[in-house]
Symmetry: none
DNA sequence: GTAATGGTTCGGTTAATATCGAACCATGAG
DNA sequence: CTCATGGTTCGATATTAACCGAACCATTAC
């Protein structure tokens, strides 16, 4: 019967407002404790515990015990991708919604799990496609590797992992794809390491310095 | 309160197994009637009606009344994207799930309801738009009818039906539109009648012969 | 050792919703 | 007009699950 993949089961895990708040809080890839998450969601510890157990059981979250704390984080990039796919809906059903300065910064550049999203993320993705650094089937071309090497990113430096090198992730604010995957992560790491940008505390905003933005775009030219 | 975007509301819409079955059935972009969907989901008409109303209200589905039927289809590509994002989970938990040759054939060309889908279907659609055979509002132009006549397809041969002549349908594998509607069906019929391709038994695969594929693409040139 | 804190388990209440039977409305066929 | 069919509306029922209070377990601090 019901042979269909139980995507309903996964959806149900995200369908609760409390769980949703927690997941959104974890969008940036950090690991938070159960009580922190309970506070953010506005529920008691008991309730949060129950929710978190379900999320872990459903392989949406991963948990790591450390001392008497239990740190929760997203199971992987695909969870962030799912949340972004959901945000696409709210972003256009309620168009204006007062775009404050912080909101503006979020649209400009933010972290999505572990890679760059927002205008800058989409720009990165599109430029790489346009310049032929990235092929249609999302593999880095020879020319691409050459340019990646220019910022010190070589295949040898990639961490061993079976996670796909490149992956495209639908951007909720831009409604276009940005670059995810191992390479997406490495590029963001480099942007931060070179101080082209820095993370704003307690937010997902990636703040580029004027100089950093220029260098980044130059590199893509 | 709950200022968070109501991604939970959207997720809840997908969280029900019955609604899920219906959405998956619509993944190929076809438009199905309420009773068809009820049958596929294994529920009664009343229940389906309630579900469908919710999905339309939540802007997940779009409905179009035609005669005494109501055709439901996905509201847009972002819905398909969401469903795909959800499927990543189930496909991930089960091992690699090798993409066999049959899967490759499915992406290349398959039947979608009664018309051509997959790479070849998208190619047909795009070419017809590009060549000006098909206008923006999805009507066949004069030039279009000329070329259709070249393979023996004239307006007179169209079956009497209130079904729209042309319709664009979101392609599951290509994520782009292919040509549906009466004309889409007639073209596929002709492809099969001329033996440019044949249907593989017990599957949705449309297998083009090398010669047939060449002739088909030549016709689109 | 005792106290404090992070986290889980249990039980009972409450709210939401999926479901269907039956009646109802609307369209199309004859 | 009459009948059949697609689809919705209206209860009423039953299942689910979110929630919290209270008790409990585990780890660190003192």
């Amino acid at each position: 019967m019901r042979e269909g993949p139980d995507i309903a089961r996964i959806a149900a895990l995200v369908a609760d407002p409390a769980r949703c708040s927690m997941l959104l809080a974890l969008m940036d890839g950090r690991a938070l404790t159960a009580t922190e998450l309970a506070g953010l969601a506005g529920i008691t510890k008991q309730t949060a515990s129950s929710h978190l157990a379900k999320l872990v059981d459903g392989e949406v979250l991963r948990v790591e015990a450390q001392g008497r704390h239990r740190y929760f984080q997203l199971e992987g990039p695909h969870v962030a991708a799912l949340l972004e796919a959901l945000m696409v809906f709210s972003s256009d059903s309620v168009p204006p919604l007062r775009t404050g300065p912080k909101d503006f910064a979020l649209r400009k550049a933010r972290i999505c799990y572990d890679h760059l999203a927002g205008e800058m993320g989409v720009e990165l993705h599109d430029r790489m496609r346009e310049r032929g650094w990235l092929s249609d089937d999302l593999t880095i071309t020879e020319k691409g590797w050459t340019h990646l090497a220019a910022i010190g990113l070589t295949p040898a430096k990639l961490p061993r992992s079976n996670r796909p090198l490149c992956r495209s992730c639908l951007d909720w604010s831009q409604r276009r794809h940005h670059l995810a995957g191992l390479v997406g992560r490495m590029i963001l790491d480099h942007i931060l390491a070179l101080s082209w940008a820095r993370r704003l505390p307690a937010s997902r905003v990636i703040a580029f310095t004027p100089d950093g933005e220029r260098r980044f775009l130059d590199w893509l030219r």
